[in-house]
């Protein structure tokens, strides 16, 4: 059943995408690139996905087409929308009798310009606190800086900002998120790092989530310090590879990437098995809670799946914090190990979303899900492990207006 001659299209000239498609015996869609609709499998940019699902364009996907983003993925992957949805979900959950979600993974965050005055109050309450300012919709560390003085906000307002101002006018139209800076990150070898982990969502309603067993820590090249003199040194504070690659200590050999397996071994050996288990449970909680927070708002189109890149920071107590969720995690490969990881990742994604290159229709999909409820379904495909399947959750109660689900363990 495999090796059907499906037609593929990709907006990314990335070997891990193209080689995977070619290895499956799929053929490239021959129509003119920008306008081609004659495809079965499309690895698209978020902008092209938006165009495809724009009702004004009058384009409807057929049953033999699958695409790698949900129409309004930005509810989760824009920093400001992610914060907004998490806060909303928390308020909803606080009203529930059964408190089942732990939200203590999002650092205190304010969205500018709307929440500027709230931020100023908090800022004055904690004058020794460092904050991190990020554009809501940019990537690769662009536009990010650390804030110790209100006056620094001139960078984004374009005009002088004083501590008694209650309103902030931004120079550009984009929103910013300002979060409490986690200034006690877990250090290994004296350096700060964050985690990049991959999560595949094949369906939002019911929610079905797979977690990938390979990921990596992205290390800074400079020793971490809270010294105020180094606050603008991005090689100390920002873990983005796009930034660290310009450090003269950057290595092409490992690219500053440290495997999740190595990190787990380190945490277990140095802190104990229980500490590792708690850390992983907390990370899984972050993933599930964040996905549940947008479950009600995401347009659950049957043609869609999404592979997210979760950025998580561990603090010195091994507590994980959610930094952001990426809709288009980088598929650039910086080392042979990196290439191996991403090749297998994409391969496993398609083994899940198109098992045997089959497109089940909607009715079949429902039947398939029903049958899976009864029969033993795979919980492991390649490097992916099923983290959560709401259709198997016995405590699932669906109402017309809201859902309240316990995380099935």
């Amino acid at each position: 059943m495999q090796n059907k001659k499906l037609k593929w299209k990709s907006d990314f000239e990335k070997s891990v995408i193209i080689e995977n498609f070619v290895n499956r015996g799929w053929i490239k869609s021959q129509e003119k690139e920008e306008e081609s609709t004659d495809w079965n499998v499309y690895w698209a940019t978020v902008w092209n996905v938006r165009n495809i699902f724009n009702p004004k364009n009058g384009f409807r996907l057929n049953d033999q087409q699958i695409i790698n983003h949900f129409p309004n993925h930005y509810e989760l992957t824009r920093k400001d929308f992610m914060v907004k949805n998490l806060k909303r979900f928390k308020r909803e959950q606080d009203k529930e009798v059964l408190e089942t979600f732990n939200f203590d993974f999002l650092p205190t965050t304010y969205i500018f310009p709307g929440e500027y005055s709230l931020f100023v109050e908090e800022f004055h309450r904690n004058p020794n606190q460092t904050w991190i300012v990020k554009p809501a919709a940019r990537s690769q560390g662009k536009g990010i800086f650390l804030l110790r003085k209100i006056q620094q906000l001139k960078k984004i307002s374009g005009t002088t900002v004083t501590s008694n101002m209650t309103q902030l006018n931004l120079a550009s139209k984009e929103n910013y998120v300002v979060s409490r800076y986690i200034d006690n990150p877990l250090l290994i070898g004296g350096k700060k790092f964050d985690l990049r982990m991959y999560v595949l969502v094949t369906n939002y309603k019911p929610l079905k989530v797979w977690i990938y067993n390979k990921g990596f820590g992205r290390f800074c090249n400079e020793q971490y310090t809270t010294d105020v003199a180094e606050i603008e040194n991005m090689f100390v504070h920002l873990t983005n590879v796009a930034i660290q690659q310009y450090s003269d200590k950057y290595s092409q050999k490992h690219g500053g990437k440290y495997s999740i397996d190595a990190l787990k071994l380190y945490v277990e050996s140095a802190y104990g098995t229980d500490a590792l288990q708690r850390m992983m449970d907390d990370i899984h909680n972050i993933m599930l809670t964040s996905l549940k927070s947008v479950q009600a708002v995401i347009q659950n189109d049957k043609h869609c799946f999404e592979m997210y890149g979760y950025d998580i920071l561990l603090d010195s107590n091994l507590k994980p914090w959610l930094i952001e969720i990426n809709a288009s995690p980088s598929l650039t490969t910086t080392t042979p190990v990196d290439k191996n990881l991403k090749m297998n990742l994409i391969n496993d994604v398609y083994n899940i979303v198109l098992p045997n290159d089959d497109f089940p229709d909607n009715e079949q999909k429902c039947n398939y899900l029903f049958i899976q409820c009864i029969e033993q379904q795979p919980t492991k495909v390649g490097g992916f492990t099923l983290l959560y399947d709401e259709s198997l959750d016995p405590n699932n109660r669906k109402t017309q207006k809201r859902q309240s689900v316990k995380i099935w363990k």
């Binding site: 020793q223 050999k253 440290y258 071994l265 050996s269």
Partner: protein
């Protein structure tokens, strides 16, 4: 360590699980007897072999309590003179390296990377010279030398079969269930006697308890403050720069490129700088590496450790960085591992654990059990030992992922021996045998090993026993 008195022996006994098992057996054997005399206990102990067990336990404690002495003289005189020659050679290399570093300081474009005193290839090449010397020695005229082996020197050698038999149990090891793992965890927490810890290390060590096992085995578990203070003293001494520091920094470049160890680069360097200043190493090391020949008017003498740092010394520290967040613990473990075990990999000696013995064991096994491979490698100019010397000397660090390296370390402790490396080297050659047999020259062989590969501990053990 001083000789224990009776009270100390009793304390040590009481910290052993075996002691409590013996006591339980005695209690069960004596049952509900009202009056129990010493004779009753002795009779019972003799009848069910408890007395033997107790004697073994006590003698083990006494043996461990004796001060560890550094082996300086080998039973084979030829090797003692060879050690002197090796030391002289290293002094010469040191002069060359020093000159090179001076040239580099003067000329930035000169980036000669061979800034080390010796590496594993130099060591093997030196060991190779023994064969020619022995052949010309009148004492060995009647001994038949097999010319196809790289090293076939007349030293007492354990039988290869005994090594294969010793580790055969590893083939039967299965993945343990959670309840068994929990039992082992409790054992490690409760056990103090090294003979019991060795048994655990031979079987399975959970990642979360490995550091504790190692600390207990080396009797560091209640010594943290002392370790911290000693390390702090050494760190202070590092403020005075030594020429060897420069060599250690250069050595650290390779580990800084390793995907598993680059994060520990600074810690590794700090540990090594302290190591070469540590005066206690000379009295703690199990075997003398260089014979301490003092070169008069020389700009540099041997470090206070009594031996020169060598290429890739950083590798020995690296895996231990996984075990603790505290650098003084990492240092203490590295120092102990080196002084007890890794020193033998650089020792000109006939001891069982020495590089010479291990190499000869490997040649013996491969030439006997895989003669086709052995011969083929010779024919294409790529000797068996030259192929695996790097893996052997550096315990596969850099070739296997850290969990497998730590399993090797467990086995080293478990048997108080480096012989596991013989098994793994044989397994390594057997694993790649099909490709090696197709290789036509050294370039082909290098190609095989330059490809991305993953070698695992259990896998290599399995291959070692495949015919």
């Amino acid at each position: 360590m001083q000789q224990f008195d009776n009270q100390e022996i009793l304390m040590k006994l009481k910290s052993s699980k075996q002691f409590w098992d013996i006591k339980k057996k005695l209690k069960q054997g004596l049952g509900d007897q009202q009056k129990i005399g010493v004779n009753d206990i002795q009779k019972l102990a003799q009848s069910c072999e408890i007395e033997d067990q107790l004697i073994k336990l006590i003698s083990h404690i006494l043996k461990k309590s004796k001060k560890r002495e550094t082996l300086k003289e080998d039973q084979i005189e030829f090797l003692n003179t060879s050690k002197i020659k090796w030391t002289e050679l290293l002094f010469k290399n040191l002069d060359i390296v020093h000159q090179k570093t001076k040239n580099q300081e003067e000329d930035d474009t000169n980036t000669d990377s061979k800034l080390y005193i010796y590496d594993e290839k130099n060591l093997l090449a030196f060991l190779q010279t023994f064969k020619q010397q022995q052949q010309s020695n009148a004492l060995y005229q009647n001994v038949q030398f097999q010319s196809n082996k790289l090293l076939n020197i007349n030293i007492p050698l354990k039988s290869s079969q005994s090594i294969l038999d010793k580790y055969q149990y590893l083939l039967l090891q299965e993945e343990l269930q959670d309840d068994k793992i929990n039992k082992i965890r409790k054992q490690i927490e409760n056990e103090h006697l090294d003979i019991e810890l060795e048994k655990i290390a031979q079987t399975f060590v959970p990642n979360g308890e490995r550091c504790l096992l190692y600390l207990k085995y080396f009797e560091f578990d209640h010594q943290e403050t002392v370790l911290q203070q000693n390390f702090a003293k050494l760190q202070k001494e590092c403020l005075n720069q030594l020429f060897y520091d420069e060599l250690l920094e250069i050595d650290g470049h390779e580990i800084s490129e390793d995907t598993f160890y680059f994060v520990f680069q600074e810690q590794i360097l700090t540990c090594l700088k302290c190591f070469i200043r540590d005066r206690t190493i000379k009295e703690n090391i199990r075997i003398q590496l260089q014979n301490g020949v003092k070169k008069e008017h020389a700009e540099f003498q041997l470090p206070v450790t009594g031996f020169f740092p060598f290429k890739n010394i950083s590798k020995y520290v690296a895996p231990l960085c996984y075990l603790s967040t505290k650098i003084h613990i990492i240092y203490a473990l590295f120092k102990e591992f080196f002084c007890r075990y890794f020193c033998f990999l650089h020792a000109i000696s006939s001891e069982n654990n020495s590089i010479l013995s291990l190499c000869m064991q490997i040649e013996e096994i491969v030439s006997t059990r895989s003669p086709k491979l052995f011969h083929h490698l010779k024919v294409i100019g790529c000797d068996t030992l030259k192929l695996i010397i790097h893996q052997l000397v550096y315990c596969f660090i850099g070739d296997m992922d850290p969990p497998h390296i730590l399993t090797i370390y467990d086995q080293i402790i478990g048997h108080d021996s480096l012989e596991i490396l013989v098994i793994l080297c044989v397994g390594f050659l057997n694993k790649y045998k099909p490709k090696l047999l197709l290789a036509k020259n050294q370039e082909n062989v290098q190609q095989i090993f330059s490809e991305l590969r993953e070698d695992r501990f259990q896998e290599l053990v399995q291959f070692a026993y495949k015919q």
